[in-house]
């Protein structure tokens, strides 16, 4: 590994992102290389300088902007839900005995249709007489 590669390791070292073995190798190199030691020093100085910056605070008016935008979005969502519910209720609203009667009719109708259209009814039991002697009677299902 050359000094440029070690410099990348120095950057990872100050971020505490080096594995133990990598740190060991780097410290061995640092003990012999003044250039990489200087890099480590200046990287630490850079970190200190960056940290001197006071983080900017979010302006107070942001609270109102965000919370009112969110509240508007919630109201729109609620209004959409209410509209959907109202349309559904308008179309199917009826007393429960009527609803039960309709459901019963659907059930009976469904059963009737099933029995008429059942594939089982398409097959019939027939008896066929074969006239040649000796007479043999054959029973069975024919489609």
């Amino acid at each position: 590994m050359n000094c440029v590669e070690y410099e990348e390791q120095v950057s990872a070292l100050i971020d505490n992102e080096l594995a133990d073995q990598e740190s060991e190798l780097l410290f061995t190199h640092l003990s012999k290389c003044a250039t990489c030691r200087a890099t480590l020093r200046s990287e630490l100085e850079l970190r200190v300088s960056l940290k001197e910056d006071v983080p900017p605070l979010a302006p107070k008016e942001l609270d109102e902007k965000v919370l009112s935008a969110v509240s508007r979005a919630e109201q729109q969502l609620d209004a959409r839900k209410m509209t959907r519910k109202a349309v559904w209720q308008h179309h199917v609203s009826m007393p429960w005995p009527l609803a039960a009667a309709i459901a019963g009719l659907f059930l009976i109708g469904g059963l009737a249709v099933t029995s008429v259209w059942s594939p089982f009814n398409k097959t019939q039991v027939r008896t066929v007489y074969i006239t040649a002697l000796p007479t043999v009677e054959v029973n069975g299902y024919f489609p």
């Binding site: 990348e8 971020d15 990287e43 960056l50 983080p55 900017p56 979010a58 942001l62 979005a73």
Partner: protein, 172 residues
């Protein structure tokens, strides 16, 4: 899933200053930072209940903020400039003369502002938000090794620029 303690209002008050600071440092413009922060939280509100892993909340929030900030940055500059991966890591917008008047911390901030956005964001996420390489990788979509190498390049660029500015300052 998100629990009661992570209702939108709770999340908003917990992260608003961090998200604003991140957007501000990336965009270098208070109004744009405010717009990006507002849009970030509107999007968070829309999808918070869909977030399955509460442990990744922080990375998720910053990745939304990053998208909003980059949308504004793209509006400000041509796309190619943001995406090219050359050694030209500086924006050349601000004249050097303005810089030499400032104190060291101010100069550092000025240099950070001049840095290419992709390098600037790595330094912001690492130095100010103190996120790990794994978290930065999740936010930026870059691999951890790309994060490591990007941070190294960003710091090297910062050091070189700082050295040259401070040297010029001494000569004045």
């Amino acid at each position: 899933m998100i629990d009661e303690g992570q209702s939108f209002v709770h999340v908003y008050h917990r992260y608003k200053h961090r998200v604003y600071a991140y957007c501000y440092r990336l965009l270098r413009h208070p109004q744009n930072a405010e717009d990006a922060t507002q849009e970030t939280f509107v999007k968070i509100h829309r999808s918070l209940d869909k977030l399955e892993n509460a442990a990744s909340l922080q990375a998720w929030i910053f990745s939304i903020a990053r998208n909003e900030a980059y949308t504004i940055l793209r509006r400000q500059r041509p796309t190619t400039e943001l995406e090219e991966e050359t050694e030209n890591v500086w924006d050349e917008e601000n004249p050097l003369e303005k810089v030499v008047q400032k104190e060291r911390a101010g100069i550092v901030q000025h240099c950070l502002g001049l840095l290419k956005p992709s390098y600037r964001e790595l330094l912001i996420l690492r130095e100010y938000e103190e996120l790990s390489y794994a978290e930065i990788s999740r936010i930026t979509g870059a691999s951890e090794s790309a994060v490591k190498s990007g941070l190294f390049k960003a710091r090297r660029a910062m050091r070189r620029k700082l050295e040259s500015i401070l040297k010029e300052r001494k000569e004045l």
